[in-house]
Symmetry: C2
């Protein structure tokens, strides 16, 4: 399904199969592509601020730099990758009238936003039972909603069917080189402001942001170590060690409070990029630890963030010493702020998730 989704992008250069494409990632996800993405999306994307806090620095015993993607268009970093992929689609394939994706979360809003910016049609496949507030946000950007059964397979199949029938291109949430290049612009901006970071921690779901950010960081600032932060059960470290995707197919969802990083497996296109650029020490965090990081971010940075952002904050505050005790300047991506304000997880018992 991954190959189909990417093949459906309609990019004339992308006729090769998935594994060949994965092998060619050196050419497709490189600093030049990230710089091109930054140029392509700059008018539609916020250059988000880098926040700091003396109180958090004191708690960490290090200097922390928070890239506030919760303040990004659509409320998460996903707008970067979606805009890059959708705008590039339009450049390469001007006859293509629209895009289609499946996601009930941040990527859905991001693609709907990007399509609106590009003047393209957009269909978003969401599982039946998706909360009304999420559907409203997607439709608010003018996208059509298509409901399907709530399984990963049904979502992918419905998406593929729409793409076939309409000729529209599928924009996968992470396993897409243009999406990865778009997410890489986070690191481009952060390292422009803080060029001498010792480490950068990135909460990881499908791996698109991790791949884009790690590749960019490695190119610009090779001494800065990029670490993945994962929910329990993902077991990224084992796949990194084996240099092989050990997850079962199709990928399942983890039972985690951080719904934006619940996809268990890193995608096949992102994985080789990550293997090349990410420190093999993975930080694994529990729900309670993510909630702790999330709450501290509300309290000290006064920023509304998702639990996945809390994962990064927790790791920067408490875990970085495990891997790099001497690290002084730590970057953290506050990946998004689309949170259910009626069910903040330190108020709602976490066993309801």
């Amino acid at each position: 399904m991954e190959a189909l989704q990417n093949g459906a992008r309609g990019d004339a250069d992308d006729e090769e199969d998935e594994s060949a494409r994965a092998g060619a990632e050196g050419a497709r996800v490189c600093l030049a592509e990230v710089r091109a993405a930054a140029k392509r999306i700059s008018a539609w994307i916020h250059r988000t601020p880098v926040l700091t806090s003396h109180a958090l620095d004191a708690m960490a015993g290090r200097q922390l730099y928070f890239k506030a993607e919760n303040l990004q268009k659509t409320g998460s970093f996903k707008a970067r990758g979606a805009c890059n992929a959708v705008f590039r689609e339009k450049e390469l394939n001007p006859a293509c009238g629209g895009v289609v994706t499946h996601s009930s979360g941040n990527h859905a809003q991001a693609v709907a936003y990007a399509a609106k910016c590009a003047g393209m049609g957009c269909s978003v496949v969401v599982p039946r039972g998706t909360p009304r507030v999420k559907c409203d946000a997607i439709q608010g950007y003018g996208a059509d909603l298509v409901f399907c059964n709530p399984t990963p397979t049904a979502r992918q199949e419905t998406c593929a069917t729409i793409a076939r029938e309409t000729g529209w291109s599928v924009i996968h949430s992470s396993d897409n080189y243009d999406v990865m290049a778009g997410q890489g612009t986070i690191a481009l901006e952060l390292l422009e402001e803080v060029p001498d970071l010792d480490a950068l921690v990135v909460a990881t779901g499908g791996g698109g942001m991790l791949g884009g950010v790690a590749m960019t960081t490695r190119a610009l600032s090779p001494n800065c170590q990029v670490y993945a932060v994962e929910p329990q059960g993902k077991e990224l470290a084992e796949s990194l060690k084996a240099q092989e995707r050990l997850w079962p197919e199709p990928s399942t969802f983890l039972n985690t409070v951080a719904d934006s990083i619940r996809l268990r497996a890193v995608g096949p296109l992102a994985f080789p990029v990550i293997c090349k650029s990410v420190n093999p020490h993975v930080f694994t965090v529990t729900d309670d630890q993510m909630i702790d990081g999330m709450r501290i971010t509300f309290e000290r940075l006064k920023q509304v963030v998702e639990a996945a952002s809390g994962a990064g904050v927790y790791a920067a505050l408490n875990l970085i010493g495990e891997a790099q005790p001497q690290a002084q300047k730590i970057g953290v991506v506050l990946c998004g702020g689309n949170v259910d304000l009626d069910a903040l997880p330190w108020i709602t018992p976490s066993n309801t998730y």
Copy 2:
């Protein structure tokens, strides 16, 4: 008590009585003093960002500019006025070893912070029963806590006793010209970034911020109308109309969700400044309206703010047309972000306040 508190500042120029001082406010709260305050405090205070949101602009049908004082040192704008007053105290009276104030809220943290910056001692009088978290925050800046009975009179008397015994100066939370000049720097910064505001809405408690901001705005941008937003029961409009403080003495606390603006009466030093510079149309908001504005700020701006900030947001979104239908560019001060995250008011029924 107000005169005593200000007299206790130890400023050699301030021997006159309260009403004479109030009459001389033209000399003491002027643009030159605000500019001097900006210079005095700049190394210790954040220049806070001005946030915008297309979604909120669309809801308002106007352009809104949010001055994010929730991101200020100590979590509220109070750090500006406290730093200006404490640092000026030290300039004028180098022998004075410390400062004292009474407040269980944002002003207490702000004075404790300012005293720490100035290398001065600090005592804060708080009512018995003040939540532990607030006491911890004040002590976190190195201040001593002094507990007293939970009445406005007991707080003032305890404060005056400490000042008498120690020779330390009392820093009142709003009824102090140096505090007002410090708060005026909010408008200085905002109007530098958005010089052509049509209106500026300010949530109002004791009136120190309203006075400083309105005076500064009137001097810099006379076409910009400054409006007070008040909780129900304050009845500022009646006093403004009479050009006389109609509130009973001593001032009482309003029963409002917005604890940082619960002081009913505007102080005697701030009042004449406000009469001269504030539009007589006052926006009165209910608890539910403030909570609505607060929640929208979490949701759309991703900013953690207090209910008092929500009051301004609600007024800018829904009420400005009552007074100035043609206004296009509206400034809003997000006055603070020190909120009890375990009791967000849209989750906790508001009848528990």
